[in-house]
């Protein structure tokens, strides 16, 4: 699978860009957008959840902060979502410090529980301050096409932006993987006390990884608000979303850069097709399917498809 790395991945991205340019069908474009953003969200989560082994089930908080910041800035102050997106990212980084500084003293399941609580508190606050946030009804963004508004008449530009996110998160992941931070994260994931004994400031490493992860997640939250033109606290800050965005990672392979890419290309089209073809009259069915996929993958190939495939190929070569 080494051929997918580096320049080959660039080739893959160019191919996808050509695909976006060629495809006219609105649904296929939507599918591509969903896949690209799933990759990006998965890779963003993977920075702290995969490389750092700190399993967050509260990433919806950062996503929601991104979506709400850019939307509220644009509605109240007329700020372009391009800037609002950055502002959302910065706010999410601050939020990640609020979460991380106290909670990275916790380990394992305790940390996971704290992240769930964190996203829940944000959801409750967004619902409560309804004069400012629109409350539980949510906000419908006024559609006003234009580059500055990050709203477009057809889906092609959205697809390019989403592809951009995918490229950004992928190369950042590869960079982190081969950086000092990446090695530190791997070390602390394997054995935190051991890593500390070697002089690694594990607390700081986890914080930095969470900040990066939060920033990226918030960017995509902002993007999605512009794409769907509707946000509400029940979905932007939900535990369901936090779980859903880890799905490509779990399927493809946790703690790898290619894993979430593979995972998203497998599971996201399936989810979207199920959504379109069956969920109209059968509420819940598509989520049952992804729950089953999650359980089966975790039991049968916990290392994910990427490592499983490379593992079997490698074994064949040596034998």
């Amino acid at each position: 699978m080494k051929f997918l790395k580096g320049n080959y991945f660039l080739g893959f991205l160019i191919l996808l860009a050509l695909l976006v340019a060629v495809v006219q069908n609105a649904f296929v474009l939507h599918l591509l957008i969903m896949v690209f953003t799933s990759v990006a969200l998965g890779l963003a989560w993977n920075v702290i959840g995969g490389y750092g082994g700190q399993l967050s089930l509260g990433h919806a908080a950062f996503y929601g902060i991104g979506a709400y910041t850019s939307t509220l800035l644009s509605i109240h102050l007329g700020v372009t979502p391009w800037l609002g997106m950055i502002a959302g990212g910065i706010l999410a980084v601050m939020a990640s410090l609020v979460l991380g500084i106290p909670c990275f003293r916790l380990r394992g399941t305790y940390f996971t529980l704290a992240t769930i609580a964190f996203a829940e508190v944000l959801r409750i606050l967004v619902v409560f301050f309804k004069d400012f946030t629109g409350g539980s009804i949510g906000i419908v963004l006024k559609f006003n096409a234009g580059f500055l508004n990050m709203m477009f008449k057809n889906r092609e530009p959205f697809a390019y932006i989403a592809l951009g996110f995918m490229a950004l998160t992928y190369y950042l992941s590869v960079y982190i993987e081969n950086s000092r931070l990446g090695y530190y994260l791997t070390a602390l994931k394997e054995n935190e006390d051991g890593a500390r004994a070697l002089g690694i400031n594990t607390y700081r490493c986890k914080l930095i990884a969470l900040m990066i992860s939060a920033f990226l997640t918030a960017l995509i939250g902002s993007f999605f608000a512009q794409y769907l033109t509707f946000i509400e606290p029940e979905s932007e800050f939900s535990l369901g979303l936090s779980i859903a965005l880890t799905l490509p990672v779990m399927i493809g392979g946790i703690g790898t850069a290619l894993g979430p890419v593979i995972g998203a290309f497998i599971i996201t089209p399936l989810q979207e097709l199920l959504r379109v073809y069956i969920s109209g009259e059968h509420q819940g069915l598509q989520n049952i399917v992804y729950g089953i996929v999650l359980v089966v993958v975790v039991i049968c190939i916990p290392q994910g498809i990427y490592k499983w495939v490379t593992g079997t190929i490698f074994r064949k070569k040596t034998s």
């Binding site: 082994g53 399993l55 089930l57 106290p102 909670c103 003293r105 916790l106 394992g108 399941t109 305790y110 996971t112 529980l113 704290a114 769930i116 609580a117 964190f118 829940e120 508190v121 409750i124 606050l125 619902v127 409560f128 535990l239 369901g240 779980i243 880890t246 779990m250 946790i254 059968h282 509420q283 819940g284 069915l285 989520n287 049952i288 992804y290 729950g291 089953i292 996929v293 999650l294 359980v295 975790v298 039991i299 916990p302």
Partner: protein, 289 residues
Amino acid sequence: MLIIIGQSLISGILMGGIYALVSIGLTLIFGVMNVVNFAHGEFLMIAMYITFWVFHYFQIDPYVSLLIVTPALFLIGVVTQRYLIQHLIQAEHYTQIFATVGLSTIMANAALFFWKADYRMVKTAYGTSTLNFSDLVVSYPRLISFLVAIGITVLLFLFLKRTYLGRAIRATAQDITGAKLMGVNINRVYIFTFGLGSACVGVAGALLMPIYYAFPTVGLHFVLTAFVVVVLGGMGNITGALFGGLVIGVVEAFSGFFIAPELKEAVYFVIFVLVLLVKPSGLFGLTKG
């Protein structure tokens, strides 16, 4: 003012009994096998639905249906442990979390699929009846739920202290190797414990039905509360979960009145994080019970 405080205290403590019962199931499972069952809330949801359907089709009173719901949930717990968790006991930490998270997704959405998103309620003759002590009002079904919850907790406690199986469970929680050397069948203890923890939530589900609605995501609210309670009482500590449940019930009632009803969850989540930070082993001493 005094009446308001008294009233909040009463309704808080009564609700706290239910929280305690849900949390005891969770903390028991955690204490013995170090697994947090993220599908615990969905087990509660299933228990509530069973109570509802049994009432709907056979007019069996929720309190009587305890005799059906509790064994049913015990069985669900046993099956979950035997066919899901058992494979993951040795596995990496994240697989355990995501296996139960996946299970919870399946169960909540299966409920949505089969039973729709409607709010289901059991209408009983005693549903709204109250006991009045001068100015204080005590809801009758809430009082019953509370008393049964406390009774079950005491029974569970005695079971763990006095019986062979109870001792085997505690031994396993303390030291797996030691328990094995003493001839305890660890896998059986695990299966039984998971069943027992799930049965607790079955009791809670039946007790909740006369005072609460069943809907597919009802588990989420209660499991989040249970996480708070369990951390408050110390993970794995049963007495801690009992007191933690009562504390959260009271905190909820007071913050609902004095701050804002919509913010009561935020208040106890803040408490949760504070406890995690100041004393991760819980407010009530030891980590294991």
